[in-house]
């Protein structure tokens, strides 16, 4: 069955998103795929990185964050994983008629506070209002500009590199999903929405040779690793026992039918470093708030028939596929 309409999964950050971008959007825009993920170099200007992201999270306020702070952290993180120091952001709002003004103020206050805490200014923006029913409360698009300090590249994974994860997974996805209408599921799990720039900066300052980085947002750790493995033409083996996940998050994923590997994170990043730098890099991260649970979670191998696999606790190896793009809670 071919797709002639956009389905929800096209926005899931998984296989369908990638296909939509590579097979339809990029050819029409006449650009190269590398430029459409994370951040892009600005043509004709040395050392500048430019990125954009849209935020349609629901509900607008969730445990551990809100659409405002998320929109700031998300774009800052895109710049950070390009090895660029975030300099400034733009913010465009699409507001549904009828949105409570007090709520809008809370969102913007939160965005401003997040930006201040990150030392980044929001220097330009736009505001549109559409009729009731034509947008779900509020959508935010942020774009960011940064100064490149190092040049990680998704095609730069080497056999033997170690996979570093800056902290525990699946928290943002759980926090947001648990607030969905009708579920009546309360969880102590809070979104991990945060800037990863201080952690990335520490690696750069520590002289760690970073081959590639990415933030595992939609599609989770799985999507992140599959994309990078494919871009570099290598394989990746992840160690299940090494991947940090809080017990209450694991339980919540079970209850919500989520796979932690494909669940979104908004305050974490993955870095690929040479084996000799790996232990030192983890030590650097663990000294910084937000990096206390950093861990080496895998290794880059030669390209195999399967791009990414996971060694389970029991020693079996399981395929890690690009997630389809929509979290379908299981009961069975």
């Amino acid at each position: 069955m071919g797709e002639n309409r956009i389905i929800l999964a096209h926005g899931g950050g998984g296989a369908l998103t990638r296909e939509l971008i590579e097979d339809t959007l990029v050819p029409l825009l006449g650009g190269s795929p590398a430029g459409l993920s994370d951040g892009a170099a600005v043509p004709g200007v040395e050392g500048l990185v430019f990125t954009t992201d849209s935020f349609v999270v629901k509900p607008l306020f969730f445990r551990g964050g809100d659409i405002g702070s998320l929109s700031v952290h998300g774009t800052i993180n895109d710049l950070a994983v390009c090895g660029a120091e975030p300099l400034a952001l733009s913010m465009a709002l699409i507001i549904e008629e009828g949105l409570d003004l007090g709520l809008l103020k809370r969102v913007i206050e939160s965005a401003a506070a997040a930006a201040r805490a990150c030392g980044v200014r929001i220097i330009t923006g736009d505001t549109k209002v559409v009729a009731r029913g034509e947008a779900d409360q509020l959508f935010i698009t942020t774009a960011g500009i940064g100064r490149r300090l190092i040049q990680p590249d998704p095609r730069n994974l080497h056999e033997g590199d170690r996979v570093l994860l800056s902290g525990s997974i699946a928290e943002h996805g759980v926090a947001v999903m648990s607030d969905r209408e009708g579920i009546a599921f309360e969880t102590p799990v809070r979104s991990d929405s945060a800037s990863v720039w201080p952690l990335v900066r520490a690696l750069i300052d520590g002289g760690i040779e970073v081959h590639a980085m990415r933030d595992p947002t939609r599609g989770g750790l799985a999507a992140c690793c599959v994309e990078l493995a494919e871009d570099s033409g290598v394989g990746i083996i992840l160690e299940e026992a090494a991947i940090p996940i809080r017990p209450e998050v694991r339980v919540a994923c079970e209850a919500l039918g989520l796979d932690p590997l494909t669940t979104a994170n908004e305050g974490k990043f993955v870095a690929f470093v040479p084996d000799r730098d790996a232990v030192g890099a983890v030590e650097i991260l663990r000294r910084i708030p937000g990096g206390r649970a950093a861990a080496i979670v895998g290794t880059v191998t030669r390209r195999r028939s399967v791009a990414v696999s996971l060694k389970t606790r029991w020693g079996a190896e399981r395929v890690v596929d690009m997630p389809y793009g929509e979290d379908l809670p299981r009961i069975c």
């Binding site: 902290g167 309360e186 969880t187 090494a242 940090p244 694991r250 339980v251 209850a255 069975c332």
Partner: protein, 76 residues
């Protein structure tokens, strides 16, 4: 098939209960059980409590969950 999870009853209102596991709280319908009380452990499937678990049974399950996390060695 049949994902079912153990959870402890913290509050009962009529036939509905709030049940909790490791801080996660959800609703469960108790109509398939007789005499379930606050503090009891139950097995929950698709929003319904299908069996009571003894403290010992629940403890065993929690131990299995904890063993997984010890093994992961993550101090978060």
């Amino acid at each position: 098939m049949c994902l079912a999870m153990p959870a402890q009853i913290v509050e009962i209102t009529g036939r509905r209960a709030q049940v909790t596991l490791l801080g996660n709280v959800r609703q469960a319908d108790l109509s398939l059980l007789e005499g379930a009380e606050v503090g009891d452990w139950v097995l929950v499937h698709a929003g319904f409590a299908i069996e009571r678990l003894s403290q010992e049974d629940a403890r065993q399950t929690l131990e299995l969950l904890a063993a997984i996390d010890d093994h992961a060695g993550t101090a978060v």
